[in-house]
């Protein structure tokens, strides 16, 4: 661990990526994530072999990522909600061609141009595919700048491990806020396989097969086999890569489920509820896909009810309901459009549940 520094989330993510060996960044300006490309444009040209390129569009940027990943590089792009929508085409191709890359989404309020303030209304888009076809992305949701650093570095390893894009999902608050950061000494996972599949130049007898980076499988039976292969990988991810944090859930009557920015506000609410004598607990999904069903199912055995809190009209709450499986009531509280819920609002929600004995 290095020295503690006060860093802006966006800049910390960019530096963490560089520390993790990312040497290529392709992006397009959009608020509230501009400090990521700005930081990359300053740092990457000073590093041997590094390249920052401002693309002509989000669409071009994600396809540059496709080309760089196909050539075997650690590569990243970042954007915010409307830009991520534009990238969905490329993301689908990247999944289909089994290329590793890291995509950062600093989510803002939508739909449409929406606002530039923090939101979590891209949960469906992130966890259900987003682009066309049968696929999943690993989705990591940091709730502090320090965690954003750690998850960005993890994202590169996971992308290489599974040959699948990994999405780091923050919001305007995670991106714009400054918090103390200790930049970890990054050590690449030595068990990661070599990228012998990359297109780097080939001829007969050079020791590997000709590389074809491709997502086209015109024969339906071959495509079905390919998609089944992808889903075998997803099954492994579901069993090996679920991450979450639990606080005071053991004896909790009311379990709050929240992620990212919302989770840190929910944590403050939970502590104050405990002071009032209401047994509240918190489950914070760190991976949004795969979704941590297990701790929620466990809590459903003894809790009276769940409250899902999101900066949206209720998207993750669907996953919470699937995990609770009808055993207990699942309530929802959300603010949207770029409004961040307050501690007081969450406390009131839980107090009302307790009063009504729900």
């Amino acid at each position: 661990m290095g020295q503690k520094m006060l860093m802006k989330g966006n800049e910390a993510i960019a530096e963490a990526a560089i520390q993790a060996g990312c040497r290529f960044f392709f992006g397009y300006p959009i608020t509230p994530q501009n400090q990521i490309p700005e930081y990359m444009s300053k740092r990457l040209p000073k590093i041997e072999g590094g390249c920052f390129l401002q693309a002509e569009s989000e669409v071009a940027a994600i396809n540059m990522v496709y080309g760089a990943a196909g050539a075997g590089a650690r590569v990243m792009t970042s954007s915010s909600s409307p830009g991520i929508s534009l990238k969905q085409e490329g993301i689908s191709y990247i999944v289909g061609a089994e290329l590793p890359c890291v995509i950062v989404n600093m989510v803002r309020g939508g739909p449409g141009l929406g606002s530039i303030q923090p939101a979590q209304s891209d949960y469906y888009q992130s966890t259900r595919g987003g682009g066309h076809g049968d696929y999943r992305m690993l989705v990591l949701a940091p709730s502090s700048v320090q965690e954003a650093v750690e998850l960005t570095q993890l994202a590169f390893d996971l992308a290489d491990k599974y040959r699948n894009p990994v999405l780091v999902m923050g919001d305007g608050l995670i991106g714009q806020m400054m918090e103390p950061v200790e930049m970890p000494d990054y050590h690449k996972d030595e068990s990661l396989p070599e990228k012998t599949w990359a297109a780097t130049g080939w001829k007969e007898g050079c020791g590997r097969d000709r590389a074809v980076i491709n997502s086209l499988y015109i024969d339906p039976s071959v495509l079905e086999k390919h998609v089944n292969h992808l889903y075998e990988k997803y099954a492994v991810m579901e069993s090996a890569e679920c991450r979450w944090q639990e606080e005071m859930t053991d004896d909790a009557d009311y379990v709050i489920v929240a992620y990212g920015t919302t989770a840190r506000i929910a944590r403050s609410a939970m502590r104050k509820l405990r002071e009032e004598g209401i047994k509240a607990g918190l489950i914070r999904p760190i991976t949004l896909w795969p979704f941590p069903n297990a701790p929620i199912a466990r809590a459903a055995e003894h809790a009276k009810a769940f409250l899902t809190v999101e900066m949206s009209m209720g998207q993750m709450v669907d996953d919470v309901r699937l995990a609770v499986d009808g055993k207990k009531p699942v309530h929802f509280f959300g603010r949207t459009g770029g409004i961040v819920p307050t501690v007081r609002e969450i406390i009131t929600q839980v107090e009302n549940l307790a009063k009504e004995g729900k």
Binding site: L6, T31, P32, I116, G172, L173, S268
Partner: protein
């Protein structure tokens, strides 16, 4: 212990720097801190503000919506943030540029003659440090020494010669609220 600040003014008055120095100093004193700026088009209009939270516990929301301590450097910011003050809150305001007082009788308003003191010291650019000194004296959240360490790190070697005048500004600011 948790202290929450909302610091607001014109862009160029150094309000973001006041916030960063508070956060950095508290970080060096071992506290949890967060600094959250306003961002986007509202900044283009010349207004700037940031929220700083300092706590010995993990910080929940880095936003400050019911303001316990407001630091107000210009008149539009006073008008904008007075309604958001917490009952019993403290508002330190730059009386050099603000010719009104907040229209609330349930908060404590403390005038600080930031620009006047800075000009008397011979460097009008230290008005924000006068205010920082006043904040430190009023809240005791971090020491002047820690704030100076943070400023030194921010300035770097090129601006090191400006440290003494900034320290004087902080000390004068502290005196005027004692």
């Amino acid at each position: 212990m948790e202290a929450q600040f909302l610091i607001a003014g014109f862009g160029g008055q150094g309000v973001l720097l006041i916030g960063q120095l508070l956060a950095k100093a508290a970080m060096h004193e071992g506290m949890n801190v967060s600094w959250m700026p306003s961002y986007g088009p509202e900044m283009r209009g010349g207004e700037a503000n940031c929220a700083v939270v300092i706590s010995d516990e993990p910080i929940g929301s880095p936003l400050v919506t019911e303001i316990p301590i407001a630091v107000i450097m210009n008149k539009p910011s006073m008008i904008k943030f007075t309604p958001a003050m917490e009952k019993g809150g403290i508002m330190l305001y730059n009386s050099s540029l603000i010719d009104i007082t907040p229209d609330r009788d349930d908060i404590t308003a403390i005038p600080v003659d930031c620009n006047g003191i800075a000009e008397a010291l011979g460097n009008s650019r230290t008005a924000n440090m006068v205010m920082l000194g006043a904040i430190l004296a009023k809240t005791g959240v971090v020491s002047i020494d820690s704030a100076m360490e943070a400023l030194k790190a921010t300035f770097g070697p090129k601006k090191e010669h400006l440290l003494p005048i900034n320290r004087q500004a902080m000390e004068k600011g502290a005196e005027c609220v004692k």
